[in-house]
């Protein structure tokens, strides 16, 4: 098993919660893991990325070589296009469609979504909306994790347990909300992936 994922977003969007769940599941399944994060200046609303590498063999580089990532998982549409160079020819882009506009030259939303849908293998999901339907837009990151989960070779139970772990202190309701959000994202992606196959 070998899975390289580029996690993308904007500083403050909390992509690290996705990485933490995946990290938990990887450790539980005795996989090797490396996860390079962005700390510091860019966390102030700048473009941030995390390189997550899972494997049953030792991993050397903390960075993913270009053209080798199975997934670009982005919680923001513009950011999903920034890391295409990392994606393998068979790789998927999983992205949220809700723009985070904090720059003056942000592209026109239609043009942006057009570019995303032109990609050969893409799952684009309005994660905020899906999360809102499940109870709270703040669970959108778990919708995104759910949407990526069919493409990551980790047991479903380990991912669910990972979600329980990171929200443990927030109580049962928050855990349930995030699990529902995860499954809603997963169901949405499975439909699209079936069509792609």
């Amino acid at each position: 098993m070998k899975c390289d994922i580029v996690l993308a977003g904007v500083g403050g969007q909390g992509i690290l919660s996705i990485a933490t769940v995946l990290g938990y599941a990887a450790v539980e399944n005795n996989l090797y893991l490396k996860q390079a994060e962005t700390h510091g200046m860019s966390q102030r609303g700048g473009a941030v990325q995390s390189y997550l590498r899972l494997s049953d063999q030792p991993i050397y580089s903390d960075l993913i070589p270009s053209g080798e990532a199975q997934l670009v998982l982005s919680v923001e549409p513009l950011e999903s296009l920034r890391y295409l160079t990392f994606l393998s020819p068979e790789g998927y882009v999983i992205t949220n469609t809700t723009p985070f506009v904090n720059i003056p030259d942000y592209p026109e939303p239609e043009e942006l979504l057009d570019s995303i849908h032109k990609l050969p293998r893409v799952v684009a999901i309005d994660a905020e909306n899906v999360a809102k339907t499940e109870g709270n837009a703040r669970a959108s990151n778990m919708v995104m994790l759910g949407a990526a989960s069919p493409l990551i070779d980790l047991p479903l139970q380990s991912l669910e347990q990972g979600i329980r772990e990171i929200f443990f202190q927030k109580g049962k309701d928050i855990i349930e909300l995030n699990l529902r959000a995860f499954h809603a994202g997963r169901a949405f992606a499975e439909q699209i992936l079936n069509r792609l196959k």
Binding site: V10, G11, G12, G23, V27, Y32, L33, K34, Q35, A36, E37, T38, H39, G40, M41, S42, Q43, R44, G45, G46, A47, Y51, Q57, I59, Y60, S61, D62, L63, I64, P65, S66, G67, L78, E79, L81, R82, L84, T85, L87, P89, N102, I103, D105, Y106, P107, E111, L112, S115, L119
Partner: protein
């Protein structure tokens, strides 16, 4: 053996605790901050009540660490690369005094300048001070080296530097921990009462001792398990891999390397291993993160030996951090075509948070300064440095901690009017106070704005040494109380801040204006917990 998922910086923190330190000393700076934060939150560290408060700056941190070492205890002092410039005075001299309790100087460099004003390579400082330097390849080595480094430090009688870079600092991986953390040292004073007295007669003696130890350090490097010769059958090329560059090499040759390799993670450079490589191969490629320190050393001034390639000759870029692709290119490995998008991707640089008090300061400042034209505001290192970017474009300098005050003074000396400094609360206590005293002593015509968000915010909201002390410090330094003003930085106080700025620009002398409001990130965290 227990295993933990740790960032490189956290691994150093855990290693320091398990290696028996009695305290950590540091000033926050990306990418080194979380070494200290990890120790601050660690259960063993809390139970042992290890020293773990932030220091005012890197110099005070290293001096306090030296005091702890003098008293026989083990210690770690942490900083980012430019922080070592601040501590350079004590740093250079610790090599000569030597230590009593073991001492690690953990320095995190930032190649590519992700969060820094330069990408200086701390290995040069290690060489300059003539002390052993450890450069871990991965998180496990970072952990192990903190423990081994403390032992090496006591064995060699000098501090040992651990040098990491951003990528290892902020990457997480599994780390196996030792079963039982080592106990702390007992209190003891140095056997030689003159060891730490660098009067010329004794400094000469101590310096000779340091020089005599160089051979010992070299022998340690030669024997170190962190430095290895890995054989290969293709002798057309030999590779020298330093620190994490080894990973980028292995990423391209995950199995057996065709070329012989010397992996370097302990300095001074292991001469015998490198000579063995040189004797076997036609040419050598040096892979190192940072400046071309090893390449330069191997090449020598006249470059008469075998061909040495790396960052100096352009085989690898001279600047920026390495990655698997750059190393593949240097090894002439073909990469497949990659995907691109036709859309032009707008950059997304960092920006001040929505609702941050610095917005209010820059709005007022720009309104006032519009009457005087550009180039009259000096600034400093912190979140407010983002005021240099549009839409504010309000500041014209960011050089080193505290330089806003002194540059404003120098410009005023030259006749610039008005001359304004914008500095943060923590940067002010880090290195701004002494400059303010210079200005007071000469009655320089400057206005100093201390943007007080009651926190060290850019690095994640650590406690600021300036908290609750700014007015008293300014008054103590000699700024007239009539020209020290504090107001809450809120949109409703805009007119008030504008008129205060105008009033103090018109005053001929040193004025301090303190717009104050808690960092909104810190406020949000406080409300969540």
């Amino acid at each position: 053996m227990s295993k933990k998922l740790l960032l490189g910086v956290e691994a150093i923190g855990q290693g320091a605790i398990d290696g028996g330190i009695s305290g950590v000393y540091a000033y926050p700076g990306t990418p080194s901050t979380e070494i200290t934060e990890y120790i601050q939150e660690n259960a063993t560290a809390i139970e042992r009540n290890l020293h773990r408060q932030w220091s005012v700056n890197e110099k005070t941190a290293m001096e306090a660490a030296l005091g702890m070492s003098f008293a026989g205890k083990r210690t770690v002092v942490c900083m980012k690369h430019v922080g070592l410039n601040v501590a350079a005075d004590v740093f250079m001299n610790i090599a000569i005094t030597g230590i009593n309790g073991g001492m690690i100087i953990a320095v995190a460099d930032d190649p590519s300048m992700h969060s820094s004003q330069n990408e200086q390579d701390s290995r040069y400082y290690g060489k300059f001070a003539m002390i052993p330097v450890l450069e871990p390849t991965n998180q496990q080595e970072a952990y192990d080296m903190a423990i081994v480094g403390l032992e090496l430090s006591e064995k060699m009688g000098v501090p040992v530097m651990i040098r990491i870079t951003t990528r290892l600092a902020h990457s997480r991986s599994g780390v196996s921990l030792i079963e039982t953390p080592r106990k702390e040292n007992e209190l003891s004073i140095p056997a030689d009462p003159l060891q730490f007295v660098l009067l010329p007669f004794n400094a000469r003696k101590r310096y000779r001792i340091l020089l005599d130890k160089q051979e010992l350090f070299l022998n340690q490097s030669e024997a170190s398990s962190y430095n290895r010769f890995i054989d290969g059958t293709d002798k057309s090329l030999g590779i020298v891999c330093c620190g994490i560059a080894f990973n980028y090499f292995k990423e391209n040759y995950p199995g057996v390397s065709p070329y012989p390799v010397v992996k370097v993670s302990q300095y001074p450079l292991p001469e015998k291993l490198l000579k063995r490589l040189e004797s076997q191969v036609a040419e050598i490629l040096v892979l190192e993160e940072g400046y071309p320190l090893v390449e330069e050393q191997l090449k020598g001034f006249f470059a008469r030996g075998k061909k040495i390639t790396g960052r100096l000759d352009g085989t690898l870029p001279r600047t920026g951090e390495l990655n698997p692709d750059l190393v593949a290119e240097a090894l002439k490995i073909e990469k497949p075509e990659i995907q691109v998008t036709a859309l032009t991707l707008a950059n997304r640089p960092p920006a001040l948070c929505k609702g941050c008090g610095h917005h209010d300061t820059f709005r007022a400042l720009n309104e006032v300064m519009s009457a005087y034209g550009k180039g009259k505001v000096f600034s400093d290192i912190g979140c407010y440095t983002l005021g240099a970017l549009p839409t504010y474009s309000a500041i014209y300098s960011c050089v080193d901690m505290g330089a806003s005050v002194t540059m404003a003074k120098g410009a005023a000396d030259a006749g610039l009017f008005p001359s304004v400094a914008v500095i943060g609360d923590s940067t002010f206590t880090h290195s701004g106070i002494t400059g303010l005293l210079d200005a007071v002593n000469e009655q320089s015509n400057i206005v100093v704005i201390i943007g007080d968000n009651e926190s060290i915010s850019m690095t994640g909201g650590q406690d600021s040494s300036a908290y609750g002390r700014i007015e008293a410090i300014c008054e103590g330094v000699g700024v007239s109380p009539d020209h020290i003003h504090v107001l809450e930085s809120l949109p409703k106080n805009h007119e008030k801040l504008v008129s205060l700025l105008r009033q103090e620009i018109d005053y001929h002398g040193v004025s301090v204006i303190v717009p104050r409001r808690e960092c909104i990130q810190k406020l949000a965290r406080r409300k969540r917990s």
